[in-house]
Every structure is written in C-alpha cells, then in structure tokens.
C-alpha cells in the first residue's frame, strides 16, 4: 500500500504526539511509582524494624541469638527486605542475614537515635539500600536495622514503564491503523476530487465524480460539480464568442486587405496621374514655347502676303513701279528670313520636347550624354522658371556618357527642380540651383543642390515616404520625392541621399551605374 502524503503527515504528528505522551506519562508514572514505592518500602521497613525491636527485647536479653535470627529470617521473606541485622546494647551485631559477611557499610552504620531513623546507602554487592533502624528499648538494648532494596523499586518502575510503553505502543498501533483507514476514507474521495479537478483542468467536462458523503468533502465535491457545470457553460459560451469574434476579425481582415489593395491601387493611380500631370505640364510648356515662333512665322507670312497682294494689285493696275518691286523684294526677303528663323526655332523646340516627352512616357534605355540631357530637360521646363529670378545651371563633366533610362532621369530632374521651385524659395527670391555632373569609375554622379530654406531635421527621414508633403491642400500630392526615390532605386539601379540644413539649402546626391547592362 502506498502511503499518501496526508497519511505521512498524520503519521508524523501521531508519532510526535505519542512520543510526547509516552515520555510524559512514563516520566510521571516513574516519578509517581518512585514516590509511592519509596513511601511503601519506607513504611514497610519501619513496621518491620519496629516490630522486631518491640518483640526482641526479651529475646535479646535472655536468650541465645538463634531465636532473634529465626525472627529476622522470617521477615527476610518479605518482599523488598534485603537484610536485617540486630545490634545488642554493646553495639555488637548478634544476628544478621548477610552472606557471606556483614558488609563494611553496614558495620559503619552507627545508631544513636532514640527514634526510628532512615539512611540511604550504597552497599557493595547489594546495591541501593534504604536502611531503617529502630532502637530496642530506646537504644539501651540495641538496634534493629532493616535494609530495604531500592533496586526492587527501580525494577518495579522499569516493569511499569515497560508495561505502560507496551500499552502506548498498542494504542499507537491501533491509532495508526484507525488513522490509516480514516485517512484512506478521506483521501479516496480527495483523490477522486483531485482527479476530477485535473480532468476539468484538461477541459474534460464529461468526467464523472463518485463522491457521496455528507461531510465537508461531500460539500466540496458538490461545489466542484456545480463549478464544473458553470465552467462548462462559460467555456461553451466563451468558445462561441471566440468563434464569433474570429469570424468578425476575419471579415475585418478581408476588408482591411481590400482597403489596402484599394489604397495601393489608388497610390498607383495617383502616381500615374502625377506622371500624366507632369506630361500635361510638358505639353502645355511645349504649346506655349512653340506659340511664339509659329505666331511670328504666321505674322511674317501674313505681312508678306499683304505686300504681295499690294504688289499684284499695282501690277495688275499697271501701276507698279520698279521701286515698289524693289521695296517688296527687300521686305519679303526680310520677312521670309524671319519666318524661316522662327519656323526653325519651332522645329527645334518640337524636336527637343518630343524627345523629352517620349522619354518621359517610356522605359526605354539608350545611350546619352548626361550633361546634355539635363540641359534638354531644363529647356523643356523653361516655362516653369522663365519668369523667376533664379539662376539655374548645369555644370561638371561634359563627357559623362551613360547607358540608362533617360525617361527616369528626366522625371527625377523635373521633380527635384519643381520641388525646389515650389518649396525652397519665396516669390521674389534669387535662388541658385546647380546640377553637377561627374563620374566616379563606372558610376555617374548627379549632384543637385539649391540654396533654399532647407528641410527641417524632423522631416528629413520622411521626405521619400509616399504622401508626405508640407503643402497638402495647396496642390502638393506628396508623391514627388517618393517617385524620385523609386526611380533611382528601380530604373537607375542607383542610390539617392539627401542632406539639408535649414536656411542653407538642400543637396541630393544621385549615384547610378553608367552602364546598367554592364
């Protein structure tokens, strides 16, 4: 049988209690017995001594000591009497019961008292003795000494202790047995309860609990059952709620995902829209630029036509004069010259615009001179800065030929410049904007810098984020720099960094491979 922890504890307590009980009762009864037996032996010894003393007067005075001996022998049969001896009036021992001799301790006992007297002595060979002496005829006729054996008291105490301890041991054994049975009766339902509780903990609400008692344990069992029922109910409710919430969450997640994709879609559309807007701006710029030479050409041609009509009229009227013809020729020469120049100018513009526009709307790669291309882009943007007082220049190496995506570069340059124009300067500022072209081994480096108001430090990390703008509601989409960042990293396979100091200006460093294929 396995000992339960409960039983072990109880056993320990019982051992403790019984140990204390045994020790206490043993001590008490030993003390009690010692007292009562000592008293009994004392009174017994006194009675014997007195009786011998009283009856031996005549015997001692008249007779041979064998009668006295016979008398004391008789008393020696009484339990506890270890020795008896009689001293005569001269102090000589005339009868004794010692074998083989009177011990020195007994000889040394000097009796002078007229009363009963008691002495404790240790006699060699006899052990612990209570010597009781009684005078015969007030000591004149001698003394009787009775030695009571104290070891009998000790033996009696020992045997009493043994008996008592045996009883305690038996009671202990019975108690242990009872405790075992009792605890088993308690612990069985407890184990059942604990097993039940473990099952509950493992969410097994179908477990059965067979504890039927009317005590606290029964109460506990019932409480546990109720609790299990409640728990089961709560658990089921909880589970249902969790399912419900999970479903809701999943719906929410779906819609969030949808929103995200819609957002991404929107972002994409916005980016496209931005690009188109840029293209739109370009087209407007082109129209505006071409308007002047074409207008001049039309005006010149119209003027020439008028002159020609006048001439023809004179010619037909015959009123034409030689001077008129000469005048006409001079004028038409000049007019045609103007027309040619302006139409050439328009053609030049269109070719330039065409290239930039084509580049902007395509991802094609080709070989081009970086500095020259930046010039062309600037030309296409001239209408944006023509009415400002800014000085815009392209400096650096003329021989940086790159094989890359000019469209992307054009958009980058456009966005950087437009950002500076919009954000870096107030209306009448005279800014200085520099595109610096250089090369470092296989890497082309375009450094763009303005001397505008700069970007606050806290905004610096966010400038490439989409939709980050300080001019929301004033026309800023917040996508410009994001597009730049994506173009540098994507189309150019390069890197862009930004340094800025408030009131000093902003610098962008763009480094990209001169030959993307290589």
């Amino acid at each position: 049988m396995k000992m339960t922890a409960l039983f072990k504890k109880t056993l320990l307590i019982m051992v403790l209690i019984f140990g204390i009980l045994a020790a206490a009762t043993t001590l008490y009864s030993a003390w009690n017995l010692d007292n009562s037996l000592t008293e009994e032996y004392r009174s017994k010894g006194m009675a014997i001594a007195k009786s011998i003393a009283d009856s031996s007067v005549e015997i001692l005075m008249n007779r041979d000591s064998s009668m006295a001996q016979s008398m004391i022998d008789q008393f020696l049969e009484i339990r506890g009497v270890k020795y008896i001896f009689i001293l005569d009036g001269d102090g000589e021992i005339i009868s004794h019961t010692f074998v083989p001799r009177v011990p020195a301790e007994a000889v040394a006992l000097k009796s002078t008292s007229k009363e009963l007297s008691i002495q404790e002595l240790e006699v060699k060979g006899l052990g612990s003795i209570m010597d009781i002496s009684s005078p015969i005829l007030a000591g004149v006729a001698g003394y009787v000494h009775v030695g009571m054996d104290r070891s009998l008291i000790q033996a009696a105490i020992l045997s009493a202790i043994i008996r008592q301890l045996s009883i305690v041991a038996v009671v202990f054994a019975i108690s242990i047995l009872l405790a075992f049975v009792f605890i088993k009766r308690i612990s069985q339902p407890l184990s059942a309860l604990s097993g039940y509780a473990s099952k509950l903990a493992a969410k097994d609400f179908t477990a059965e609990l067979n504890v039927h008692s009317s005590d606290e344990i029964g109460l506990l069992a019932n409480t546990l059952k109720d609790m299990a029922r409640d728990l089961n109910k709560s658990y089921e409710e909880l589970e249902a709620k969790v399912l419900e919430r999970t479903a809701e969450l999943s719906v929410a997640k779906g819609s969030a995902e949808q929103s995200l994709s819609q957002l991404q879609q929107a972002q994409k559309q916005l980016v496209e829209t931005e690009k188109m807007a840029a293209l739109g701006g370009l087209v407007a710029g082109i129209a505006h630029e071409i308007n002047t030479p074409v207008g001049v050409g039309i005006t010149a041609a119209t003027h020439l036509q008028g002159k020609l009509d006048d001439l023809l009229k004179d010619f037909h009227a015959g009123t034409m004069k030689k001077s008129d013809l000469e005048k006409f020729l001079d004028s038409s020469n000049e007019t045609i010259g103007i027309t040619v120049v302006n139409l050439n100018r328009a053609a030049e513009l269109i070719a330039s615009f065409k290239q930039v526009a084509v580049d902007q709307s395509s991802d094609d790669r080709r070989r081009f001179n970086l500095k020259k291309y930046i010039d062309e882009v600037l030309l296409s943007l001239k209408h944006e800065y023509k009415r400002t007082k800014h000085r815009i220049e392209v400096v650096g190496a003329d021989d940086v030929e790159v094989d890359s995506c000019p469209g992307a570069l054009s958009q980058i340059a456009t966005n950087l410049l437009m950002n500076s124009l919009i954000h870096a300067y107030e209306k009448d500022d005279e800014g200085h904007i520099v595109f610096n072209v250089s090369r470092n081994n296989g890497t082309a480096v375009l450094t763009y810098s303005d001397n505008g108001k700069g970007i606050p430090k806290e905004n610096l990390p966010k400038i490439f984020d989409p939709f980050f703008t300080t001019r929301r509601g004033k026309g800023g989409s917040g996508l410009g720099m994001h597009i730049v960042y994506n173009l540098v990293n994507g189309k150019l396979s390069g890197k862009i960094t930004c340094e800025s100091e408030v009131a000093k200006g902003t610098t962008f460093n763009i480094a990209f491979p001169t030959n993307m294929g290589g």
């Binding site: 041979d64 064998s66 016979s70 008789q74 049969e77 009868s95 074998v99 083989p100």
Partner: protein, 408 residues
Amino acid sequence: MALRRFLFVVILVLLLLSNASATDIVIGTSASFRGPSRGLGIELYRGAKAYFDYINQWGGVHGNNLVIKAYDDGYDPVPAIENTIKLIEQDKVFLLMNYVGTPTVTRVLPLLKKYQKSDALLFFPFTGAQPQREFPYDAFVFNLRASYRQETEGLVDHFVAMGRNKIAVFYQADSYGRSGWDGVRRVLRKHNLNIAVEATYRRGAKFQDSMKEQVDLLKQAAPDAVISVGSYAACAAFIRDARESGLTVPIANVSFVGSENLLGLLQEAGKKNSKDYTAHLINSQVVPSYEDTSLAAVKQYREIMDYYNPAPPAGLAEEGYKPLPYSFVSFEGFLNAKLLVEVLKKMKTLDDKKLIRPTMEEIKDLDLGINANISFGPTRHQGLDVVYYTTVRDGKFVPLNDWEGWKK
C-alpha cells in the same frame, strides 16, 4: 533368626486374635526428605522406622502399632509449619517426633504453644538449638541430644586447650547457624576471646556450589581452627574449597552435619580429584559411635538395621538416594524411637495424651544401652548432655580420643 521369625509369626497370630480392636499410635513427623539435606531426614526416619517395625512385630505398645505419618518440608520453615498444622488438625497424631533442623523447629515452636490445649508435644527434634530448650518453648519439647551450645563448647574448649585461639566460624545464615555461632561466641567469651573471623552461606547450598568466597574471607584472618555450623552439602563444599585453597587448619562440624553424608561427598570428590579432603576433620556427635559394638544399643541397632533396612518414606523421598547401612543420624533416630517406646510403655493408657508429659518427666537414670543415663524432669527436657568427638580414620568417622595432634 529362624526362631525369631517363628516367634514373630506366633505373636502376630496371637495379636490378631486377642487384640483385634487395637489402634495405631500415629507419630507425626516433618523433615527434609528432599533437597540438599535429605540425608538427615531420611536416615533419622529410617533409624526410628526400623525400631518401630521391630516393636510392632513384637506386638507394639500395649497392643498398638506405631505408625509414622511423614511429610517433607525440604528443610524450609514455611512447609514445616504447614505440615505441623496438618499433622495436628487433620491427622490428629499422637505426638510429633524427629523433626529436622533449627530453622524449621524454631518456627514450629510457637505453633506448639498455640496447640497447647490439644497437648501437642514435639519429641526429640534433630537440632541442638537453644529455643526449644528454653522458656517458654521448652514446655512443649523433649530433647534427647545435647545442645549445639554444648557441642561447640566442647569443640572450642579442646581447640583452646591445644593453643588454637583464633577460632573462625563458618555458618549457615539462619537460626541454626546463629545457634552454633552463639555457642562459639559464648564459650570464647569465657576464655576472653572473640570470634577471629566469620563467614556465612545461604541455606540450601549444594555441594556443587563454590564456597571460595567464604574460604577467602576466613583465610584473611589466618585462623587456627574453623568451626563449621551447616548442612553436610554446604560443609563438604566448604571443606573441599578450604583444602583446595591451602587452608589446612582443623575444621570441626557439629552433629547436625550428618557425618556419613559429609564423608560420602568428600570421598567422592577426593576420588575424582585424587585428593584427600578428609584430613583434619573433627565432627562432634551427640550419640556414641555406632562402631562401638561394646555398647548394647549399638549391637541392637546394627541388628535391627540389618534386618529391617527400612526404605525411605514412600512417596516422599526422591529417586537416587542410597540409604546408608549405619549412620550417626539413623542411630539417633533409633535411640529416639527407643526412648519413646520406653515412655509409652510406662504410660498406663494411651488414651489420655495429658499423661505423656508427666510420664516423661518421671524418667530417671534410664540407660538405653549407650552407657549414659537419661533423666528428665519438669525443668529438664533434655535427656543427654554428652558430646562425642569423632575424626576420620581409614575412611570412617571413629571416636577421637587424642587431641594432641592438633596442638599448636
């Protein structure tokens, strides 16, 4: 012998015819028939039984047979008291006789006083102690033998005469031993001497027991002689151990020791150890030596013992006891019985027990055939005062006549 047997048959027939109404005279006894002192009880009984058988065969006393009702007390006072009560109240014995031992008899004495009204008398106890020789118990006891006091007096006187003044006493730790001790002490006082050293032993000691402790105790005082007052088993053990430890001084035993039993043990042990333990032994006796066939009683004793050779009391004695052909003890039993028969014969009727005492007290100068006169009187309840001294010669206790060999 043939004649005696013929006579026996004739008398038996006559008795049966003429005295059909005869009753038994029941003599009660309590003695040690078992234990270390059984030799004494058995031999005392056998001596008396032999004589009673003889008397009964010759018609008994006044036509009544003498019957012994015996109980064993194992030399222990308590059974002795119980036996005595049984004998008086239950068995209604005629008188008590041949009790053995001082501790037993001393304790029985107050009983006799109690049964005064039923005329309980104790005849010839086998003890030389004083109590039954002195007031108040002498009234209920008749002794034949001399007292221990007389025995020890004689022994001490002889030792002192031989210049042996340092007398040691070895004695039984009870009233018997004390009686002998007291006798020695008194006589030494007379010589202005004291007991040089003493040692006791517990009653009931066996021959196998060691007496070394007692011997060593006595040796410390280098005594000139030892007087030993004990039972034969203890005394024999003491003598053996004394001789083994080189204590060679004379050792004297009193009559109670049972000389033949003592000698038997010593000779047996001597044979086993190839030693002679019997030298320098003196035993005082209260009856003459049964070797002295010049005495009529000795002759008669020997014949009767030879003829009847009584068995130990039936059902009382233990197995394995070998009865002695003759012994001082059975001789004493024999003489006790003989004296009793003489007294009974003198009584006019046996119906009145009150007559026993006066008849006894009238005996004067009666010789039982031991060359010593026996007299009793109202103040004299001891028949003999003679002490005989014996020593071992040729494996036997013989009369000691010359003490000069032990002169110091």
